[in-house]
């Protein structure tokens, strides 16, 4: 749509928008900073906590945290840190003397710090899960023993001998996180700055502006957003090169002790704090879902009620069924496609090709622009909104996550298992079903669980491709969120979080039930 002239004026109009530079800067910086912080937290935690009680407990917590939808975390986190939030109430008025909330700009700060920390809460569990899935391939235990027998302190040893090999395995997930964080909409709406908002939030506003000319500008802005995301990825890549250069000397300087205490303390504290914050956010939502009147500075609601749950109960059934149906179909399809792709790659001995970038495209392009294009394309082809279209739309976003959760484990499975099976007279097909899949059960289930969580969290694909005719728990939750009733938001966010949780618990329980206790996805010790 639109001639060259309209195109040109759209760009002019975009660049004339007040605060565009700041919007771009905040999107770029919060995306990079949150990823760096989340990675730092995860890496230091893994380095500092191997085999400890903390390690085991947080590993168990990671998947439930991953399952909570972004918007729910954002709402809960905003309520935690706001001047009238849980933390302020904890110290008011007996310590702070605040009878009324202080007028301080904490949430929605112009630097995007609240947004950055909110993003970290969601990114850290994802990166931790990806790391835990990759670690068993690295003989980490043996490397550590060796390094410690050479005199290296445990945390420093991990950083020097395991991390350099782990990083390449989690690089793609990290890139996915950067792409997501630079273009995130829902968290930025709740936690991000407002004068001006992040680029992604501005784009959403322009796309839904009744004034048609804003839509051309929104398309131009979507192209700009893509460039911002690519620039962030490029910057990260450059930082990677720099870090590699700078760390080269440190890795082999023979220093066995220096920084150990600092790394250990920050490593354990970092993820513990992040987990506690996410947990507190969830508890805040839970409290609201049963809260009667609740005024500052009361730490607990003055009264409790089940009204909010009761009234939502009637409206839950349909959306729950739709959510489960779409999530299972899209994730099931994605799992089949990914396994088929990887198995073919193994059999034909092809190396992963450049066409893989196509797979990641939906993660790179701003969702709203991408989906609006899809809607127009589907309409043009005469495809009317329906369940199948929604499933296909979800597939586009589930597929890359399932792929990046599974690919490394799949490729690194020792091929000798299959050689042995085949040498015992088992056909290739049977070897795939009887040997490879059972051995890969844990990573496969983790990938499926991630896929389910991604599908359940999708708002725009469900709403746009289904024209709202396939209401899911998430579309209902987002619609209700626009009404700002925190009690109802609490109810629906908990339901929304509960669904993927069921998926994750199944992923943990199923292998045990199938008789492979050591291959439970979240505490894989050794593999193959």
């Amino acid at each position: 749509m639109g001639s060259e002239q309209a195109n040109l004026s759209a760009w002019q109009m975009l660049f004339a928008q007040p605060g565009l530079g700041r919007s771009v800067a905040v999107s770029f910086a919060s995306g990079l900073a949150s990823t760096a912080l989340a990675l730092l937290i995860v890496v230091l935690f893994l380095a500092a906590s191997q085999g400890t009680w903390l390690d085991r407990s947080l590993r168990r917590l990671v998947s439930p945290l991953l399952a909570i939808p972004h918007a729910a975390v954002a709402f809960g986190f905003a309520f935690l840190i706001a001047p009238s939030g849980l933390m302020a109430r904890l110290i008011s008025p007996w310590l702070s003397g605040w009878e009324a909330p202080p007028d301080a700009l904490i949430v929605n700060d112009p630097w995007g710090l609240a947004l950055t920390f909110g993003l970290v809460l969601k990114e850290a569990p994802f990166l931790l899960l990806m790391s835990l899935a990759a670690l068993p391939q690295l003989q980490a235990e043996q490397r550590l023993r060796l390094a410690r027998s050479l005199g290296y302190s445990p945390t420093l040893a991990w950083l020097k001998v395991v991390l350099p090999s782990l990083y390449p395995l989690i690089r793609l997930p990290i890139y996915a996180v950067i792409a997501y964080a630079t273009s995130v909409v829902d968290m930025a709406l709740i936690l991000g700055p407002r004068l001006p908002p992040t680029l992604s939030v501005s784009i959403l506003g322009w796309f839904s502006d009744p004034d048609i000319t804003h839509r051309f500008m929104a398309s131009a802005a979507a192209v700009l957003q893509l460039r911002v995301t690519l620039a962030a990825l490029l910057s990260w890549w450059l930082l990677e090169q720099l870090a590699r250069r700078l760390s080269q000397r440190w890795l082999t300087n023979g220093d066995r002790q220096r920084g150990e205490a600092l790394f250990t303390v920050t490593g354990r504290a970092g993820l513990t704090l992040a987990s506690l914050a996410a947990l507190a956010a969830l508890i805040g939502l839970g409290l609201f879902s049963v809260a009667g009147f609740w005024r500052f500075p009361e730490l607990l609601p003055q009264s409790f009620t089940f009204d909010h749950w009761q009234r939502s109960a009637d409206m839950l059934a349909g959306p729950l069924v739709n959510t489960a149906l779409v999530a299972l179909l899209s994730t099931g399809l994605a799992a089949v496609l990914v396994v088929a792709t990887l198995e073919n790659e193994q059999r034909q001995q092809i190396h992963p090709t450049r066409s893989l970038w196509l797979l990641y495209l939906p993660l790179l392009v701003p969702q709203i622009a991408f989906l609006y294009g899809l809607v127009v394309a589907a309409e043009r082809l005469g495809i009317r909104p329906q369940l199948a279209l929604v499933v296909a739309g979800h597939l586009l976003f589930v597929l890359p996550y399932v792929y990046l959760s599974l690919a490394e484990a799949y490729r690194r499975l020792d091929p000798r298992w299959l050689y042995i099976a085949q040498s015992l007279g088992v056909s290739r097909r049977r070897a795939f079903w009887r040997v490879r899949l059972p051995l890969l059960l844990a990573p496969l289930l983790t990938a499926v669980a991630v896929g389910l969580a991604v599908s359940i969290g999708q708002y725009l694909p469900t709403q746009l491709l289904g024209a709202g005719r396939v209401p899911t728990v998430t579309t209902e939750a987002v619609a209700l969120a626009s009404g700002g009733n925190r009690r109802l938001i609490g109810v629906w966010a908990l339901v929304q979080a509960g669904l993927p949780l069921v998926g994750f618990m199944a992923a943990v329980a199923l292998p045990r039930w199938l008789g492979a206790p050591r291959r439970a996805p979240l505490n894989v010790q050794r593999q193959g």
């Binding site: 009238s84 007028d103 001006p196 009264s303 792709t341 394309a377 043009r380 709202g468 626009s482």
Partner: protein, 405 residues
């Protein structure tokens, strides 16, 4: 299978589809035939879904429509009405002129203006609806006027909104009664008032309210903005806001995201004076435990902006008969009375209640009142909405001045 073919499969999957036969638009003049055609249709009603009570009311309407007319009503819950506008526009661009996915939209103001301008609406139909006469449009021009634009039968009135202020009477004795007084009040109570960030709808309405009170050239606001001297007319508004902002919540360095966000901030005790477009908002919030019992509502002494909200039918709706039957039912005394009752939703009726049959009038008397709701006589103090072009111009000018802190 390569990833590329995986993607292709995904698209192919989407291609497995069917298309429904197109239905010719019925003539609203022949109401019996409309009802006949409506029977058995499914109407997809796209309406904002941010309020549980509205949703509950629409669910009740759906039950009634199924029972009385055999029409299935599906509430498509939106987070923003403009996404429905975008959808119809997209369908038009793609050449889908008869099988649109939306049959009825809850709409008014600039969204209506935009859809009319792009010729995206079906009509005229509203004035042919049997129940439309109950609004007595000749005496109540607001049911045929939307932000100064004549509706010309392209949308049917549904409910009434008016800017209503509310405050906690336990904390504030004398809330400000005018925009001027608001400034003085804000200076005395720094950080306890704000308005939603522009271009939010409620926030923009606050700008218009302030402009109407501050300018002495009111008539210019009811004509397109292009015909007026924007700089001169709005100068008092910017002078006022420059003075007001340092005394707002967060010193005007951030603004609440939306109208409902104001209510949440009131609930948290961060604000002690707020406003809403829904006159019963505060009362409902008290019933939903969000606000304390001591909250009271009022309108400014010189009156506040009010408008009517409507339902409209997209030009490419395949179920226009069902949509008209629904729009007509929404205008029935029974549906309007249910809507106005505080225990259901609390949205004011567009019917001329005093002119209804006594038995119908009685329906409206069942609704209970609530101390936090504003007084019933406030309706007379309604100011009309300016021309929609003012909204855009004000939004752009505001963003230019205050959009970057």
């Amino acid at each position: 299978m390569k990833p590329r073919s995986a993607l292709a499969t995904a698209v192919a999957l989407a291609l497995v589809t069917f298309t429904a036969p197109a239905v010719a638009a019925p003539d609203p003049q022949e109401w019996e035939s409309v009802l006949d055609a409506a029977n058995g249709q499914t109407v997809y009603w796209n309406a904002w879904g941010g309020d549980a009570r509205t949703n509950r009311y629409i669910a009740w309407v759906a039950e009634q429509m199924q029972e009385s007319y055999g029409v299935r009503v599906e509430h498509v819950k939106l987070d923003d009405t403009s996404s429905a506008v975008a959808r119809v526009l997209g369908e038009q661009q793609a050449g889908n002129d008869s099988e649109g996915s939306i049959d009825l939209i809850w709409i008014n103001g600039e969204n209506f203006a935009a859809m009319r301008e792009q010729d995206l609406l079906f009509g005229p139909f509203a004035e042919s609806l049997p129940n439309f006469a109950l609004t007595y449009p000749d005496e109540n021009l607001e049911v045929v006027t939307d932000f100064t634009l004549p509706t010309e039968g392209y949308e049917s009135p549904w409910g009434k909104a008016q800017i209503t202020f509310y405050y906690d009477s336990a904390q504030t004795d004398t809330p400000p009664q005018s925009i001027e007084a608001l400034l003085a009040w804000a200076k005395e109570h720094p950080g306890q008032f704000s308005y939603p960030r522009i271009p939010d709808f409620t926030g923009s309405t606050f700008l218009k309210q302030a402009l109407i009170e501050l300018t002495d050239q009111d008539e210019a606001l009811y004509a397109p903005v292009e015909d007026a001297d924007f700089e001169e007319i709005t100068a008092p508004l910017w002078a006022y806001l420059d003075e007001l902002h340092p005394h707002l919540w967060r010193s005007g360095r951030s603004f609440p995201e939306s109208g409902p966000n104001l209510r949440t901030l009131m609930s948290d005790g961060e604000l002690s004076l707020a406003f809403s477009f829904y006159p019963t908002d505060a009362a409902v919030a008290v019933m939903e435990y969000e606000l304390p019992e001591s909250v009271r509502s009022y309108v400014l002494e010189g009156g506040t902006l009010g408008n009517v909200h409507f339902v409209a039918i997209p030009y490419n709706s395949p179920h226009k008969a069902g949509a008209m039957a629904l729009a007509n039912f929404l205008l029935s005394p029974e549906a309007q009375a249910q809507k106005q009752s505080l225990s259901m939703w609390g949205d004011r009726s567009v019917l001329a209640i005093q002119q209804l049959e006594p038995s119908d009038q009685a329906l409206f008397e069942q609704g209970e009142s609530h101390p936090a709701a504003r007084p019933a006589d406030a309706l007379s103090q309604t100011l009309a909405e300016p021309h929609p072009s003012w909204m855009n111009a004000l939004q752009d000018a505001w963003l230019e001045r205050y959009g970057v802190n």
